[in-house]
């Protein structure tokens, strides 16, 4: 296939066209800037659907691949290798889907230096798409690190009062983890003679002891990104300080890069180590689920609550992945998408009320359902989705994960899943706490405070409803009829499970 017309390249680099256009726009022309970046993101999403239309769900292998020799120095064989399969296709779609939504939310939230903001955002999108498509370890690492930069600036320039601290912390933690991964990548690439992931998987033959070290080097990088307990302390800062759109992308996509890394590299490249570490990873996941849930409950800041809830939710994803069976892994992948939708929506919605009130302190809220009925109803659906109510998306993911983990041979004990199921109770505790604090009870003091500033709290605008509506559609769709989504995931996961099974016996 021709290099420039390969769908993967087109999708990945299309956002850069928007960046180029934006460079030539006067920074005062805000309307044009907004529309250029929104249309670019929408077109990217359209192109990702075009990509989907060429994707064959039944084929378990990498598809639409492009593999060009790139850097050849001494015994380094680095190639420009892109491809998608069932493990990544949904994440590509999620990225392309969430970006325009996040951009639309900035129209009223970002008022300074919109041009720079939009440029960084589109750069970020290109980087994220590349991460999910790269099949060469070196190429992956470049995309992986590349996403750090725009996010660093998005938090550091447009964030809240503590933005500098938060952005540095974000940068520091992620980079620290990445460096170990880089070492492992280089070792692997040089030692095996190729950086191409499919080739490495095919070759196999890494001794179990070496697998353990390589596994750990990759795992630390990814575990920080997820973040897994106890490596999470950058997350509340980054989330609370990031602008709404940044939080949406951070929670929706960037964290998934961590879980995706596990499934793309750790499981198939080091299957023996994955089996060896499965109980430990599951244990950390369980602690994360319970710990994240309890800590969420005791937050005073709405965004912080949602941030900590991510630790709990991603604990479920990790538990599913390390069940190392098809229910667990498929559920884990679906739950990545679900978390992107639900938590993305939560951050959007919190941002919408924050724009009006400029506070996220629970104590001043209360009774908003009466004043903002549409907002209250939408938030209710998202809250329920996040706490895994059957019929909505979160349940399908959590249920399959827990079911998979409960009978997982690799984890070896139903206790892990049994304890995690307590997280289902705790999710109701903290999510309903949040909902009640904001929407139920007598009206809070914020209503008066806003009035004193000469406004009145208004319900969602048409633009705001349009922003969240697509998320709601998928929340119901995946909850009621997840078949098309599982069909995309299943063949590739079966392949992966077969690799793991082979290593197990």
């Amino acid at each position: 296939m021709d290099f420039m017309s390969n769908p993967l390249n087109v999708v990945t680099f299309f956002p850069l066209i928007g960046v180029l256009l934006l460079l030539f726009v006067n920074k005062e022309n805000k309307v044009l800037i907004r529309w250029i970046s929104l249309l670019t993101a929408l077109a990217t999403f359209g192109l990702s659907l075009w990509l989907l239309s060429q994707f064959q769900p039944a084929n378990p292998n990498l598809q639409l691949t492009i593999n060009e020799s790139w850097i050849q120095v001494a015994n380094w064989n680095i190639s420009y290798y892109m491809g998608v399969d069932g493990l990544s296709i949904l994440l590509v779609l999620l990225t392309a889907f969430l970006t325009p939504i996040a951009l639309l939310s900035t129209w009223s939230a970002i008022e300074e230096r919109e041009k720079d903001f939009n440029i960084f955002f589109l750069l970020l999108e290109a980087g994220m798409l590349g991460v999910f498509m790269a099949q060469d370890l070196f190429l992956f690492y470049i995309f992986w690190e590349f996403t750090l930069v725009p996010m660093y600036f998005l938090i550091g320039i447009w964030g809240g009062p503590q933005r500098i601290y938060a952005s540095i912390k974000f940068f520091l933690y992620t980079m620290a983890g990445s460096l170990l991964m880089l070492l492992a990548i280089l070792w692997l690439g040089i030692h095996q003679g190729t950086f191409a992931v499919p080739d490495l998987i095919r070759m196999g033959g890494i001794p179990a002891e070496t697998q353990i070290w390589l596994f750990l080097a990759f795992a630390i990088a990814f575990a920080i990104k997820v973040p897994m307990w106890p490596l999470h302390s950058w997350l509340p800062d980054a989330h609370v300080q990031a602008p709404t759109a940044g939080s949406v992308i951070l929670a929706g996509v960037l964290l998934k890069m961590g879980t995706y890394g596990f499934i793309r590299f750790n499981l198939p490249l080091f299957p023996k180590a994955a089996i060896h570490f499965a109980p430990m990873m599951a244990g950390l996941a369980v602690v994360g689920i319970i710990y994240g849930a309890i800590v969420s409950y005791y937050q005073q800041d709405i965004k912080k609550l949602v941030a900590y809830s991510s630790i709990s939710h991603l604990g479920f994803v990790m538990l599913g992945l390390f069940a190392l069976n098809s229910q667990g892994i498929q559920g884990g992948i679906l739950q990545m998408i679900n978390h992107g939708l639900s938590t993305g929506a939560l951050f959007l919605l919190v941002g919408m009320v924050y724009e009006q009130t400029h506070t996220r302190d629970f104590d001043v809220y209360g009774g908003l359902w009466k004043i903002m009925p549409v907002y209250g109803s939408i938030m209710l659906v998202v809250t329920l989705s996040s706490m895994g109510l059957p019929g909505l998306n979160g349940f399908v993911g959590e249920f399959t994960i827990l079911l998979g983990a409960f009978g997982s041979e690799a984890i070896g004990s139903p206790w892990f899943a049994g304890l995690s199921a307590i997280g289902v109770i705790l999710a109701a505790v903290y999510m309903l706490y949040m909902y009640q604090k904001i929407f139920l009870g007598p009206t809070g003091s914020i209503v008066e405070t806003v009035k004193e500033h000469g406004h009145a709290l208004r319900d969602l605008s048409a633009r705001e409803i349009i922003t969240v509506a697509p998320l709601l559609i998928f929340i119901f769709w995946i909850g009621l009829y997840p078949k098309p989504f599982f069909e995309l995931i299943a063949p590739a996961v079966d392949n992966l499970v077969a690799i793991l099974q082979a290593a197990m016996h």
Binding site: I157, F399, L403
Partner: protein, 707 residues
């Protein structure tokens, strides 16, 4: 699955999904167009939607009868298929599910109609007209979820409905989320809703574990598949685990010891909700689940004995609390817990028919009682309203300052002699009371007697159950007698009671239907040759059922106990009616025991001390001390950041002077020119630390590569 097929066969099984679709359509219409519709129209749409589900239920029951009760499954769509896990949206029409459908949609529709009248006044008193529509949307959603619960063909579909009705319960308990039950601004109602949801989630946790265990041992979650596998490999250890995990779910949803605590608080919801969800239908889901899982429960005796004992203990325990309550709805709430205990005890002892029989009869008379209580409360409200706005200052002051408190229209101590002002409600209430107390020939007499008889016959295997239930039955008649005397007899204890007003026909007419069922509902399953209709109907699903003839001994004892209890209540509350401000006469007689009953045996306080407070403390410790102060601040600053600083200094000092510094300066200069805030970010951090760390890596790599 198409209409022409149905037309030729004359059967209607393909309509099963419409059990769910009709209520969903109803709620969608009200959600989308309801804003421009009148109250009447909104209520009518919702009632029709529920009524349509009832019609479907009737058609399904009719069709099932035509095929001699042979189980029918109606596949609708695929759901989750992963490997061995094959879950579909498939409806199940059998004799058990049709009974549940009929009860739910039948009683549900009557309550929808009643609610049109009730909510009109309720929203008036709360001064918020807009919420009328929201109420009916939730009510329709409840019917849809309940239908999924009873008609699903797998444990997971049942679970969807199970959690779905829990959601509706949460939404409707906290319907007046900005008030408490007395209409004061408060989060109390919202708290009650949350408590219900969380207590139910604790139960659901158990249910989920049961589902997982089932799947990994039997390889499916579809009912028949599970039962077949269980019959083929009746491993008592596995089946005990499954049934006991499931029992946790039952204690949550059907409000049994120890998870019942949410149900009394659930009375914060509008009265039609208490009647529909928290008495007639949702709370019986646990009973349905046990009957549905009969092939599992009947395998392991110890598990079914635990079920029976939980039910029997709950029946007695809740009945004692009901004796000490003053709120008209609280009495009924504890009574409901107690009656659910009867049902759970029945299905625990294997008396599935008796359990379902009592479930249906209870749905009739308890819905009747709750709705009549709602009529009483609104009657009192009207009196209160009348006094407050109809007369001069004196009446107003009087009405608002009963004991210097906000006036409570549901407190029985404020009532008295209401049969004079509200004669229709009185007769309805009396019918419900006699049915609940188990007086011949009302519905409760037959159904409760069947439970007692079964317990007595199986006393050998289930020791204690019969006696606990018999005492509970005695207390039931007593607290209902107490209520009748306090509410409808004696003298009016307040001005308001004197001015109470009867409810309009839209409320009383549906009650008459229910009263009819409460009186004659026993005909469902009379203990005479040829009249065991329900039993034979359920045989299609649960296998052979023994026809129990009327046992005059058991029936005689329980009737005697009930009459004795009513007589006793008359002696205490009827002969010398309580006067305004006078404490309950039982207080003197029973002393601390009555204080215990009055205070619900301090169970809520116990939970607070043992569960809630420690959880708060733990959450505070984890989030403030451990996560934030220690991990986020101290560890980050001292260890991680400190290490980076040290590393950066170590690596950069020797090299920093030369090339790196130049490159970094150039970078800093570049960003300085490009923007002010970008420069702020370049406060030496990225330059000194990040860059030099990268440099360190390059050094290590160089060593690795060229060593």
């Amino acid at each position: 699955m198409n209409f022409s097929e149905a037309a030729t066969s004359g059967l209607f099984f393909h309509l099963a999904p419409w059990l769910v679709f009709f209520p969903v359509i109803g709620l969608l219409i009200n959600m989308i167009f309801g804003g421009k519709m009148s109250e009447k129209a909104v209520g009518t749409v919702a009632s029709l939607a529920s009524g349509a589900a009832f019609v479907v239920s009737v058609l399904l029951a009719y069709s099932l009868n035509a095929v001699h009760g042979e189980l029918q499954t109606v596949p609708f769509a695929e759901w989750i298929h992963i490997g061995q896990l094959q879950l579909d949206w498939t409806f199940r029409v059998d004799s058990l599910s049709t009974v549940m459908m009929l009860v739910v949609s039948g009683v549900g529709t009557l309550i929808h109609i009643y609610a049109i009248g009730y909510m009109h006044e309720d929203v008036r008193f709360h001064d918020e007209v807009k919420r009328f529509r929201r109420f009916f949307v939730f009510l329709n959603l409840f019917i849809a979820m309940m239908m999924i619960l009873v008609s699903g063909d797998s444990y997971l579909m049942l679970f969807v409905g199970w959690e779905g009705v829990g959601l509706c319960s949460f939404l409707l308990i906290g319907f007046w989320y900005d008030f408490d039950t007395l209409g004061r601004k408060s989060t109390a109602n919202a708290e009650a809703g949350k408590k219900a949801f969380i207590a139910n989630r604790v139960g659901d946790f158990g249910f989920l574990l049961a589902i997982f265990t089932t799947f990994w041992h039997f390889g499916t979650l579809q009912f028949d598949g599970v039962f077949e596998a269980a019959a083929a490999h009746p491993d008592p250890y596995v089946i005990s685990a499954i049934t006991l995990f499931m029992l946790i779910g039952v204690t949550g949803k059907s409000a049994q010891v120890p998870l019942y605590v949410w149900l009394p608080d659930a009375m914060a919801g509008p009265t039609p909700v208490s009647a529909l969800i928290h008495a007639a239908t949702m709370v019986t889901a646990g009973v349905y689940l046990v009957v549905r899982s009969a092939p599992l429960y009947s395998v392991v005796h110890s598990a079914s004995y635990i079920v029976a004992m939980i039910g029997a203990v709950t029946a007695l325990f809740a009945a004692t609390i009901a004796v000490g309550q003053y709120d008209i709805k609280k009495v009924l709430a504890y009574s409901t817990i107690s009656q659910l205990g009867f049902m759970v005890a029945a299905v625990g002892t294997g008396a599935y028919v008796a359990g379902i029989f009592h479930l249906a009869a209870h749905a009739f008379f308890k819905a009747l009682l709750f709705l009549s209580a709602g009529s009483v409360i609104l009657g009192m409200e009207r009196g209160h309203h009348h006094l407050a706005h109809g007369h001069g200052d004196h009446a107003d002051a009087d009405a608002h300052h009963e004991d210097g408190e906000v006036f409570d229209p549901g407190d029985m101590r404020n009532m008295g002699n209401l049969r004079k002002q509200m004669p229709v409600t009185f007769w309805l209430y009396l019918a419900g009371t006699l049915a609940l107390a188990g007086i011949f020939p009302f519905a409760g007499f037959w159904s409760k007697d069947e439970i007692l008889l079964d317990a007595k016959l199986h006393a050998e295997h289930f020791p204690g159950v019969y006696w606990l239930l018999a005492i509970a039955a005695f207390l039931t008649a007593f607290y209902m007698g107490r209520q009748i005397w306090m509410v409808f007899y004696g003298k009016e204890r307040t001005e308001v009671a004197k001015h109470a007003q009867e409810s309009p026909p839209i409320m009383t007419v549906p009650l008459m239907f229910l009263a009819f069922l409460a009186v004659f509902g026993g005909a469902l399953n009379l203990p005479f040759e040829g009249f065991h209709n329900l039993g034979h109907w359920l045989e299609y699903t649960i296998g052979h059922v023994e026809d129990l003839p009327l046992n005059l001994g058991v029936a005689g004892v329980s009737t005697l106990l009930a009459l004795l209890a009513i007589f006793l209540s008359w002696l205490i509350y009827g002969k010398n009616p309580i006067k305004a401000g006078q404490p309950d006469p039982l207080k003197k007689a029973l002393g601390p025991i009555f204080t215990g009953m009055e205070n619900k045996w301090f169970v809520d306080e116990g939970y607070k001390a043992v569960v809630l407070d420690p959880f708060q403390k733990l959450a505070k410790f984890l989030s403030i001390t451990l996560d934030w102060n220690f991990w986020h601040d101290w560890f980050h600053e001292s260890v991680i950041y400190g290490f980076f600083k040290w590393l950066a200094a170590f690596l950069s000092d020797p090299v920093d002077m030369g090339i790196i510094n130049a490159v970094a300066d150039w970078l800093a200069d570049l960003t300085k020119r490009s923007s002010e805030s970008l420069r702020r970010l370049q406060n030496g951090f990225v330059r000194s630390y990040a860059l030099s760390v990268l440099l360190g890596v390059v050094a290590i790599l160089g060593y690795l590569l060229f060593k």
